[in-house]
Amino acid sequence: MADTDQVMEPSIDNPFISSPALHPRPTLQNVVSTVNFGCTLDLKAIVRHARNTEYNPKRFAAAMMRIREPKTTALIFSSGKIVCTGAKTEKQSLTAARKYARIIQKLGFDITFNDFKIQNIVASCDVGCPLSLVRMSTFHGEFLVYEPELFPGLIYRMKKPKVAILVFPSGKIVIAGAQKTDEIFEAFKNIYPVLMSFRKTK
């Protein structure tokens, strides 16, 4: 087995750590993207004609539109920019954004599909065993914030790739703030050996 992931404690004989193929894989939960349609939109008109749209200007300045496939929600601003949330993969987010563009186009606006950008990708994962957050916080102090009084999870801000990882004592983790799917997997590859070295052994 090629030990590409050098673990800190050589005595760990757990196959899950030494072979990357057996690592758990993070599952993407949410992809947020933004697009610029390039023309001002009349939100009142959109709400009137589209079926699945809410607009409450007193509460929030954007209209919320939802489509069923891919299951996403879009915030449509009168400037012509939209935020598309709820997609499960980058490709789905792009498809959804194009669908929203189609809907708005059909309503009679002159749409161009500019500056599509994935802003945030969130993924979750389970390392399988409970973790000792207290021990972890004493070792990696620079990147960590652990305030059990304020939040039960430990917040690890990785510099490269620039993501935030929430680590919970149950062993479940959340990786957020990535701009590409690869960043998620890279972050997980970096953090997995660290997490496993702070397992709670019964």
Partner: protein, 312 residues
């Protein structure tokens, strides 16, 4: 009595200091070496119950390096009796022009002092809190926040830095009008600012249940044996897989230990002393109960007593 060189005797001789005249006199030949020495001790003694108009003290408080000019203050006061409208005179108005750059600082320091008094904190913690506040004061993102929350957060950080942490709920209780959330957010912000300014020398360890145990136990009036047992139990609990806040664990451990002793404390009392809700203590007790035999030290209670522990 000191030894000084006397010019007449031409050798070091014993020298006497005469307080009444302020003279330094050689005891061998009687030559006055220094006259009119200035006495730097306090002129008047101040007592707590004496005050009012006839306060003869002419000096102010100790100099505070945190304030801009060292805390020097001379104020134009109202004259006794005669014309009470002299404060409206030009001099009085001049005094209150309000351009004192330290006014908000002094106000903030006063609030911090009140809060730390209520918690019974030592002067080191109060001074540290003052320093922290001075470092972060008057920065733009802070302006929008609740001033009380910021001061409370400074106090919280100071306690943590001195290794005498106080729970956020305790700080909440003496800070007027600041919620736990606000204090938490202010604390995060201040910590970030301090790291930027001081370059990562922030040493604030995570809180442990053991840090608070001593205080909670003394609030409840537990016996010395019980306190020791509780401390041991808390040490052992860190190894177990219990996913609860350290304060809740401390409260639950106190509950277990007191249930095993003769002096049983009510859930209500523990809840009041620790700030943990009764329901939370009950739930934490449910988590800890299966491990009770591992936690409670053997010299404190026998296994049969543990069986008598009511199952939640």
């Amino acid at each position: 009595m000191a030894d000084s060189f006397c010019p007449d005797c031409k050798r070091p001789t014993e020298v006497v200091f005469d307080h009444s005249a302020g003279d330094t006199v050689c005891s061998e030949c009687g030559l006055v070496l220094e006259a009119h020495s200035i006495d730097e001790t306090s002129e008047w003694r101040t007592f707590a119950n004496e005050s009012g108009d006839n306060d003869p003290v002419r000096v102010g408080g100790p100099s505070n390096p945190l304030l801009a000019d060292g805390g020097l203050s001379t104020v134009i006061s109202k004259p006794n009796g005669s014309s009470g409208d002299l404060l409206n005179s030009s001099l009085g108005r001049w005094q209150n022009r309000g351009a004192n750059p330290d006014r908000s600082l002094i106000q903030a320091f006063k609030t911090i002092a009140t809060m730390s008094d209520r918690l019974g904190l030592v002067a080191t913690i109060k001074d540290r809190a003052n320093e922290i506040y001075k470092k972060v004061e008057d920065q733009k993102p802070l302006r929008g926040r609740n001033q009380d929350a910021i001061l409370a957060a400074c106090l919280y950080i100071a306690c943590r830095q001195e290794d005498k942490p106080r729970t956020v709920k305790e700080i909440c209780s003496v800070a007027n009008g600041a919620t736990k959330k606000e204090i938490g957010r202010a604390k995060e912000y201040i910590v970030k600012q301090l790291e930027v300014e001081m370059g990562q020398s922030m040493e604030m360890g995570t809180i442990h249940a053991g840090d608070f145990l001593r205080r909670f136990c003394s609030h409840l009036g537990m016996s010395h044996q019980a306190v020791k047992a509780a401390q041991e139990a808390v040490q052992k609990s860190e190894e177990l897989d219990i996913r609860r806040s350290p304060i809740s664990i401390a409260a639950a451990v106190i509950y277990i230990i007191t249930q095993l002793s003769d002096d049983k404390k009510l859930l209500k009392d523990i809840s009041l002393a620790t700030g943990v809700a009764e329901g939370t203590i009950r739930n934490s007790y449910k988590d800890l109960h299966p491990h009770a035999s591992k936690l409670v030290p053997s010299w404190y209670a026998k296994v049969e007593d543990l069986k008598n522990l009511c199952s939640p």
